[in-house]
Amino acid sequence: MSTSFLILIVLGLGLIGWLVARAKAAGMATPGSRELHSLPRYHGTYVALWAIVPALMMLAIWSSVSPRLINSAVIADPAAKSLPAEAIDRDAILSEAAQLARGDIEAGFNPASDALVPAFKKADARFGMMGGALTLVVAFACGAFGFTRLNVGFKARTKVERVTMMVLLVASLMAVLTTFGIVASLIVESGRFFSAISPIDFLFGLHWNPTAEGGPDLGENFGAIPLFWGTIFIGAIIAMIVAIPLGLMSAIYLTQYANARLRTWVKPLLEILAGVPTVVYGYFAALTVAPLVRDLAVKLGMENPSTESALAAGLVMGVMIIPFVSSMADDSIAAVPQAMRDGSLAMGATTSETIRRVLVPAALPGIVAAFMLAISRAIGETMIVVMAAGAAANLSANPFASMTTVTFQIVALLTGDQDFNTPKTMSAFALGLVLFIVTLLLNIVALRVVKRFREAYD
C-alpha cells in the first residue's frame, strides 16, 4: 500500500467522521429544551481531527522506522547469507536491492543485490501491510473515541479552537525554526571547516586558492581577504556610487518636484527595476555592459583588460539597487514634518535650499539606514557577480580588473561537487556565515536607526 494512498484513505475516514458526527450532533438537539453547546459542524471537525491527526502521526513514525525493520528482515532471510560482514559494503548492497525492488533502477551494480530483490519485495509488502493496517486501526479507534465523547453539552468548539490556536502558534514558530536552521547549519559546517583551518588564516589571509591540493599548510589557501575586498569594492563602493546619487535624486524629484500624474507613471516604472530577476541583470551585464566597460578600458590605455570586470558587475548591481534606495529615501523624507518644510519656504528659501538644508539633514538617519540596507542587499547579491565579476581572487583597486566576491565563491565551491566533506566545500559555509553575520548586523543597526528616527518626530 503506497503512502499517498494511505493518506487519502485516512482523509476519507476523516471526512466520513465529519459527516457522521455532524449528523449525530444535529440529531441530539431538541429545540427549546436541550440546545447544543457548539454548532454541529464543530462536532464534525472534532471527530475528523481525532481520526486524522493521530493516524498521520502514526504513519510518519512508521515510515521512519520501517526501513530499518525491512533491512533486518532481509538480513535474516536465507538469501542474505552470502552478504559481506563489513557494514559499509552490506549497506551499499542493501540500498541497491531496495532501489531494484521499488523499480527505481533497472539493473544493479553489484550482482549480489539481485539475489536480495525477492526477499526485499516480500519484506516490503509485509511491513507495508502492517503499517497500513496499524494506521487504519489508529484512525478508526481514535475517531471512534472522539465520536463517543459527543453529547449535547460537549464543548466541541472550544476544543477545535484550541487545536486551531496550536496550529497558529506552530506556523508562527516556523520563522524562528528557519532562523535557527540557518544559524545551526552555517555554524555546524563552519565549525568543521574551522577545525581544519584556523579562523585567523581564514579571516586575515591574503591568498585564496581553495582548489589547490593539500600541501603542508592548508590554511594558506583559504585567506578570504581578497573575497571580502572584492565584495566590498563591487557591492559597497561601485554599486553605491551608482545607486545612492541616482536613487536619492529620483526620490527627491518625485516627492518634491514631480506632479501627481508623473509620479503615478514613473514610480511603478522604477519599481520594475527592482522586480527584474537578478539572473537577467547578470546576463545583461555579461552580454552588453562588460564589453562596453572593456572597450572603455582599452580607450583608457589599458593593455589586455579582462572581459569580466568589477566595474561591469558593480554598475549593473547599482542600477538594481536604485529603486530600493529611492523608496527608502522617499519614506524618510516623507516622515519629516510638513511644518519644517513650510517654515523654511516661508523664510524665503528656494525649494532646493529647503531640500538640501532642511529636509535631507532632518531625514539623514533614515537615509543612512537606507544606504546600509542597500549595501546589505548588494553584498548578498549573487547572480550578477556570478555572471559578470569573474573567478580570480584579486586584491586590487582597479575597477577594470576581474574580481571575485563571497557569493561568487559560495556558488563556485558548491556546484558540481558531490563530496561535502572537503575543506573546499565546507569553506563555502564559513563564507556564508560571514555573509549572514554582516548582513544581519547591517539590518539590525539600520532598523534601530530608523526606529529611533521615527520616534524623534512622532
Binding site: R157, E161, T164, M165, V167, L168, A171, S172, M174, A175, V176, T178, I182, S185, L186, L246, G247, L248, S250, Y253, L254, V266, L270, E271, I272, L273, G275, V276, P277, V279, G282, Y283, V319, I322, P323, T350, T351, S352, R356, S376, R377, I379, G380, E381, T382, M383, V386, M387, T407, I410, V411, L414, T415, F429, G432, L435, F436, N443, I444, L447
Partner: protein, 297 residues
C-alpha cells in the same frame, strides 16, 4: 532708517538671486537626469533583450525542452519545472504565512518570545537568498536526504524565503481591518477564533493576496538558492513529478548564458522575455487586486 527696497534691488542682490535660482534649476535638472538615467537603463535592457530574442519566440520554442542544439532547444521543460516549484512554494508558504500573520497580529501575547518571533521574521526578510540555498543544501539534502535537483526541495527552500514576505504583508492587511468589525462580531457572540476566520481574514484577503503574489514573483525570478540545491541539471524531458530532476526558467537562462554556441544568445534573450512577461503580469495582477479590492476604512 535704511532703505530696504533699494538694497533688495541692488545689482549685487540681483546677482545673488540669479545664482540661487540657477542652483535651483541645476538641482531640479539633476533630479530629472537621475530618473531619466535609471529609466533609460531599463529601456536599454528591454530593447537589447527584445532585439536579441524576439525572433526566437515561436511555438516550437515554447513547447520543446532543453537541447544541446540551440535551434531545437525550448523552455517548456524549464517552465514546467518552475510551475511545479512555485506550486510547492505556494502550498507551503501561503498557509504558513497567513496563519503566522493571524497569530502574531490577533492572538500573540506581548512577551519576549513573541519579540523573538517578530525579530526573526523581519531579519529573514533581509537575509540574502543564497543563504537560504545553503540552508536547503545542509538541511533538506544533506540531513533529510531528499533528492537533489527536485522541485520539491526547490519549492521548500523558496517557501522559507517567501514566508516572511507573506507574513509581513498579511500583518499589515490584518492591521488595516478596523477594530469596530471585531467588536461588532464579538458583541453578537462570536468567539475570538470565529471573529478572525469569519470576518477579519476575508476582509484582509486582498491585501494578503497582493503580498503573496509579489512574494511569488520574487521566488519565480530567484536563481541563487536553487543553484545551491543542484537545480542546474541538463533536463531534456519535462519533469513529471515534484521529485523528478528539474530546472526552472531563471536557471535555464543561466545555463544557456554559459553556452559557447552563439545560437544560445537568442534563446537566452527569448527566455528572458518570457520570464519578464510573467513577472510583469503577476505584478500587474497584484496592483489590480490592490486597486480593485482594497478598502479604505
Amino acid at each position: 532708517m535704511t532703505d530696504h527696497s533699494s538694497l533688495w534691488q541692488s545689482p549685487e542682490m540681483g546677482r545673488k538671486l540669479a545664482k540661487r535660482y540657477a542652483s535651483e534649476r541645476r538641482f531640479k535638472w539633476a533630479g530629472i537626469t537621475a530618473i531619466v538615467l535609471s529609466l533609460s537603463f531599463l529601456a536599454f535592457l528591454v530593447v537589447t533583450m527584445v532585439s536579441n530574442g524576439a525572433g526566437g519566440i515561436d511555438w516550437a520554442f515554447l513547447s520543446s525542452s532543453d537541447s544541446t542544439d540551440p535551434a531545437t532547444a525550448g523552455i517548456w521543460g524549464a517552465f514546467k519545472g518552475s510551475l511545479l516549484t512555485m506550486g510547492v512554494t505556494l502550498a507551503l508558504s501561503f498557509p504558513m504565512g497567513v496563519l503566522a500573520a493571524v497569530y502574531l497580529e490577533e492572538f500573540a501575547p506581548r512577551n519576549r518570545w513573541i519579540d523573538v518571533v517578530e525579530v526573526s521574521i523581519n531579519n529573514l526578510a533581509a537575509v540574502p537568498s543564497i543563504i537560504f540555498g545553503l540552508l536547503g543544501l545542509a538541511v533538506f539534502i544533506n540531513a533529510f536526504q531528499l533528492p537533489r535537483s527536485a522541485p520539491l526541495v526547490g519549492g521548500m527552500t523558496l517557501a522559507l524565503m517567501t514566508m516572511p514576505v507573506i507574513v509581513i504583508a498579511g500583518r499589515n492587511a490584518i492591521k488595516a481591518v478596523p477594530p469596530s468589525i471585531r467588536d461588532a462580531a464579538l458583541a453578537i457572540g462570536a468567539s475570538p477564533v470565529q471573529v478572525v476566520f469569519h470576518h477579519v481574514l476575508p476582509l484582509a484577503l486582498p491585501g494578503i493576496l497582493t503580498g503573496t503574489i509579489i512574494g511569488m514573483a520574487r521566488a519565480l525570478g530567484e536563481t541563487a538558492p536553487l543553484l545551491m540545491i543542484g537545480m542546474r541539471a541538463f533536463v531534456a524531458t519535462p519533469p513529471d513529478s515534484v521529485v523528478a530532476p528539474a530546472t526552472v526558467l531563471p536557471m535555464q537562462i543561466f545555463l544557456w548564458s554559459d553556452e559557447v554556441d552563439s545560437g544560445f544568445v537568442q534563446n537566452t534573450s527569448a527566455a528572458i522575455i518570457v520570464l519578464l512577461v510573467f513577472l510583469i503580469a503577476m505584478n500587474g495582477i497584484a496592483i489590480y487586486l490592490r486597486n480593485r479590492f482594497e478598502q479604505r476604512w
